[in-house]
């Protein structure tokens, strides 16, 4: 079932890719092949492979349980949040929070994960800022002026 679904998704994406390739404008001066043909070849191969996958799927993989799945979803969300917060809030606070949250995912012990997050954030900041000389800010710019 998973393989069939994957095949179907690949098929749809490949068709969209193909359609998008045909829409590309041929420039006036172009090589014999132009910008369309290679992408069309790729989508052709993808369409054939996807058809194979739909007709001959492998054994069903072992998917995580619903609770693990929520955990993974949560991990993804905090990573996305981290990506947005890293610049405006400076390095230390988002990193400490994110590292704590990830640590908590693996070992559900609030005190331990908070300590882990805080230490990691401080140690990594010193390595990156002073060891490697990266232009990171410890705190939000508006706070320190």
């Amino acid at each position: 079932m998973s393989d069939r679904l994957t095949g179907l998704i690949v098929l749809v994406v490949a068709l969209a890719f193909f359609a998008s390739a045909t829409q590309l404008e041929m420039p006036f001066f172009s090589d014999p092949l132009g910008p369309k043909v290679f992408p069309m070849l790729i989508s052709g191969v993808a369409i054939i492979s996807a058809t194979f996958l739909i007709t001959k799927p492998d054994k069903e993989p072992e998917w995580p349980t619903l609770s693990t799945f929520y955990k993974l979803l949560f991990a993804t969300l905090i990573l996305i949040l981290y990506a947005y917060l890293l610049k405006p809030l400076g390095f230390l606070i988002p990193t400490a929070l994110n590292a704590s949250a990830l640590s908590y995912q693996i070992k559900p012990d609030i005190k331990l994960s908070l300590i882990t997050g805080l230490c990691l954030s401080l140690i990594l900041f010193f390595i990156f800022r002073y060891g490697l000389g990266l232009g990171l800010y410890a705190f939000p710019k508006w706070l320190i002026g």
Binding site: S2, T6, V10, F17, S20, L24, P27, S30, D31, P32, L33, G34, P35, V37, F38, P39, I42, S43, V45, A46, I48, S49, A50, F52, L53, K56, D58, P61, W63, T68, K71, L72, A75, T76, L79, I80, Y82, A83, L86, K87, F91, T95, N98, A99, S100, L102, S103, Q105, I106, K107, D109, L112, T116, L120, L124, F128, L132, G133, L134, G135
Partner: protein, 503 residues
């Protein structure tokens, strides 16, 4: 005696204080990366590349540092295989078969020293092989035109997909994902933007480092969170490091044979270290008269895969440096490093930038000796790393990946893209669709299209030009065989079941 002149040049570069220092630092970091469970050569090197850029190193220095990390990780991978029965990375898997049983018998020290010596043997011989074979192959590569390069890229995708996956359709899909992503951005020959959906961030295309760190490192985070709690293997404590001279002497021919097998498996484009260690182990097992001890801690079963996978790691550098086609996941990552440093691998690299190539080779010879010292007398220090709890290791690795990618461009968009690749990598791995061809597709897609288009310009649109030389025809045949043959061989070459605690 061009070779000696080249080597002299190489050593003059490699023995410079900063290069030597970087080689040693790379060895130490690499061994640590290899020893930490769940961090293998490819994701370890991937995470460190952006940070290496921030140091402002020149091309040779950066290459020496990262290749030393790569070699080091290949050495270090055996530590967790032997002590925890968890391979640090796929190539180290075969070492668990005999290494862990030997460690359980209270001979963990013996197993670590023997495998360390075997690693040295394999890696050293492979570096010499690289030294001898690479210049020859570089000369052959001068004969390659666009049609031959197109066929060569195809060969790399076919063998990598054919061998690395259990399902040809999945391998092909994986390659297509990579090639499709490579098409995103401005088309260099016409200046047209393709497949960007109007998003400004995508005009320059997808940065392959973002894709690599996402697919290798971030997806590892998800797999780790999912599998945690299921690991039931009991670690073996390393009490005392002893040197099993008898075993080392007895396995000398095993090491030699395995190094040869591993080296040539590594040279094949797309095959890489996992195949090297697998073939070396299987060959040793099937050629020995007494098979009863294999799987129960036979010293030959430890020496063979370790010599094999380290030799393959060296062999994989040959096609990467001479043709620009990597032989494994990690060399794909090193190719990404070269491309970011604006070095085009290929025959011209050997004639125009000999200091880069020979400096690298000389540094690898030195690095091997450093690694032998780190991995035999000092193995106990590194084995302590196994005690780092996952709840500290995983957040640490995540933060390092994020900061590395953030330091490249300082944009949140790259971070989001990296998370996206991480999620993609997680699903691909769950569906047993190999991820290395995706990386290779992103790296080589542009080149592959350019060679096809150049070939068509030369022939004025005549497709038979692709099959017009004997080199091109043999590459097409090899590609076809490489993709199809594993279908039939798979019945005979059943991979031994992965030990518990791995995926």
């Amino acid at each position: 005696m061009e070779l000696f002149a080249n080597l002299a040049l190489g050593f003059s570069v490699a023995l410079g204080p900063s290069t030597l220092f970087l080689a040693i630092v790379g060895c130490i970091i690499g061994t640590m990366v290899g020893a930490l469970p769940g961090l293998g050569p490819s994701n370890g090197v991937a995470i460190l590349i952006p940070l290496a850029f921030s140091l402002g190193l020149d091309a040779t220095e950066a290459l020496v540092l990262m290749t030393a990390v790569y070699y080091g990780a290949m050495y270090g991978g055996r530590i967790s295989s032997i002590l925890l029965n968890i391979p640090g990375d796929e190539p180290a898997m075969m070492t668990t078969l005999d290494g862990y049983p030997m460690a359980k018998q209270g001979r963990a020290g013996d197993a670590l020293v023997l495998s360390g010596v075997a690693s040295f043997f394999g890696a050293f011989l492979a570096t010499i092989g690289l030294m001898l074979l690479a210049p020859i192959l570089a000369r052959v590569a001068f004969l390659f035109g666009p049609a031959e390069y197109f066929a060569l890229y195809l060969l790399a995708f076919c063998t990598l997909g054919g061998i690395g996956s259990n399902n040809q359709a999945k391998a092909a899909i994986s390659v297509c994902i990579g090639l499709g992503i490579a098409m995103i951005g401005v088309d260099n020959s016409t200046g047209l933007t393709r497949f960007t959906g109007g998003n400004m961030h995508l005009f320059d295309g997808v940065d392959f480092l973002v894709a690599i760190v996402g697919l290798f490192a971030v997806s590892e985070i998800f797999i780790f969170i999912e599998s945690h709690g299921k690991d039931s293997s009991i670690g073996v404590k390393l009490e005392k490091v002893t040197i099993p001279i008898k075993h080392i002497l007895n396995t000398r021919w095993t090491m030699l044979r395995s190094s040869f097998i591993g080296f040539f498996a590594g040279v094949l484009p797309g095959a890489g270290a996992s195949l090297g260690s697998f073939l070396a182990y299987m060959f040793e097992k099937s050629s020995s008269s007494d098979k009863s001890q294999f799987g129960k801690g036979d010293p030959r079963g430890i020496a063979a895969p370790e010599a094999g996978n380290n030799a393959a790691a060296g062999g994989a550098l040959v096609p990467m440096l001479t043709l620009g086609v990597p032989g494994s996941g990690t060399t794909a990552v090193l190719l990404a490093l070269l491309m970011t440093l604006n070095i085009t691998p290929g025959p011209l690299l050997f004639t125009e930038r000999p200091e880069v190539v020979w400096g690298l080779i000389a540094s690898l010879l030195i690095a091997n000796i450093v690694l032998l010292i780190l991995n035999v007398p000092m193995v106990k220090i590194f084995s302590r790393l196994l005690e780092v709890p996952a709840s500290i290791l995983l957040p640490g690795v995540t933060m390092i990946s994020f900061v590395g990618i953030y330091s490249l461009s300082g944009s949140y968009f790259d971070l989001l893209l990296m998370i996206g690749f991480g999620v993609l990598g997680y699903f691909l791995r769950k569906l047993s669709i190999p991820t290395v061809p995706v990386i290779l597709g992103i790296l080589l897609g542009g080149h592959m299209e350019v060679s096809l288009r150049r070939a068509m310009v030369l022939s004025d649109g005549n497709w038979t030009y692709l099959f017009s030389s004997s080199i091109a025809i043999s590459l097409w045949v090899a590609a076809f065989v490489g993709f199809i043959a594993p279908l039939f061989l798979r019945q005979f070459l059943k991979k031994p079941k992965a030990p518990n605690g791995t995926n």
